[in-house]
């Protein structure tokens, strides 16, 4: 495998993704442009993509932070909303990823992730509290999302690393 080629591709594509993520946060923060769900979906997909690329190159710290961000975003994506309390943490996470990608570009090595940030991203936002401030239709949507998430967590099989796994057969 030509690692140098893939590293250059990773830096280029991750940099583009992070710029797109910053733009999506701006849209969410300004509450302009209307479609919060679309901006959150963009953030989720970009974090997911950075995780996949970083793990392919064994940049485990970068992959961990991107994965933690992806997990933190997932219930927000399902609910289609971002509480105000989440904006600063999003900026912090995207900024940290930008800094880490910058180090990879300069040195070829991923630095350690900020443990404090990883810990904060492990705490999901309180969407139930947010529900109280939303119109009835949106409240239903958020509650359905929270219910689905609870069911998904209890139904999930243990993680496996490669193909031919049939979850229902185990």
């Amino acid at each position: 495998m030509n690692l140098e080629k893939y590293k250059a591709l990773f830096v280029d594509e991750a940099t583009d993704h992070l710029a797109e993520m910053s733009g999506a946060i701006c849209v969410l923060e300004s509450r302009e442009g209307g479609d919060a769900a679309s901006s959150i979906d963009t953030l989720f997909r970009m974090a997911h993509s950075i995780k996949g690329m970083a793990s392919s190159l064994e940049y485990e710290s970068l992959a961990s932070l991107a994965h933690r961000l992806e997990d933190w975003l997932e219930p927000l994506r399902e609910a289609g909303l971002l509480p105000d309390a989440g904006v600063s943490l999003l900026y912090e996470a995207v900024g940290a990823l930008e800094a880490m990608v910058g180090v990879v570009a300069e040195t070829g090595v991923a630095p350690a992730a900020d443990e404090g940030l990883l810990g904060r991203l492990a705490q999901p936002l309180d969407l139930e509290a947010e529900v109280g401030e939303r119109p009835p239709e949106q409240k239903k949507k958020v509650r359905r999302s929270l219910d689905r998430r609870c069911r998904a967590r209890s139904a999930c099989a243990p993680r496996r690393s490669t193909g031919s796994w049939r979850p229902w057969a185990s």
Binding site: S49, S55, A152, T162, R166
Partner: protein, 122 residues
């Protein structure tokens, strides 16, 4: 004759990695697509022997594209490209007609084994 593969992934990095891996193993990559819409169009156009299909993509997801391709060609060989944490989506894909799946980060031997098996599946 080399088996013809359609690669579908929104990340250029992943497409490049898959293309290199498949080409080196003797497959012909006949087309690439960056989202579900392009995937369905490319499938209609090229009738590939196998599709590698990412799950999380813009506009039309891998699951939506999978269902459309299977509706077009029920015997299509489709290997989903998933990531850790996507077990529920993988299960849904298999129930919707995907042939098998591989998990990022790809280990070339394992990924090629899954692809070979999917192509040989009755």
């Amino acid at each position: 004759m080399a088996k013809r593969v359609l690669i579908v992934d929104d990340a250029a990095f992943m497409r490049e990695m898959l293309r290199d891996m498949l080409t080196e193993a003797g497959y012909e990559v006949i087309a690439e697509a960056v989202d579900g819409d392009q995937a369905v169009t490319a499938f209609r156009e090229h009738s590939p022997d196998l599709v590698t299909l990412d799950i999380v993509m813009p506009r039309k997801s891998g699951l939506e594209a999978l269902r459309e391709i299977v509706a077009l060609e029920p015997s299509a060989r489709i290997v989903m490209c998933s990531a850790l944490g996507q077990e529920a989506l993988v299960m849904e894909a298999l129930e919707s007609g995907a042939t098998d799946f591989i998990v990022k980060p790809f280990k070339p031997d394992q990924a090629l084994g899954v692809i070979e098996k999917a192509l040989n599946k009755e």
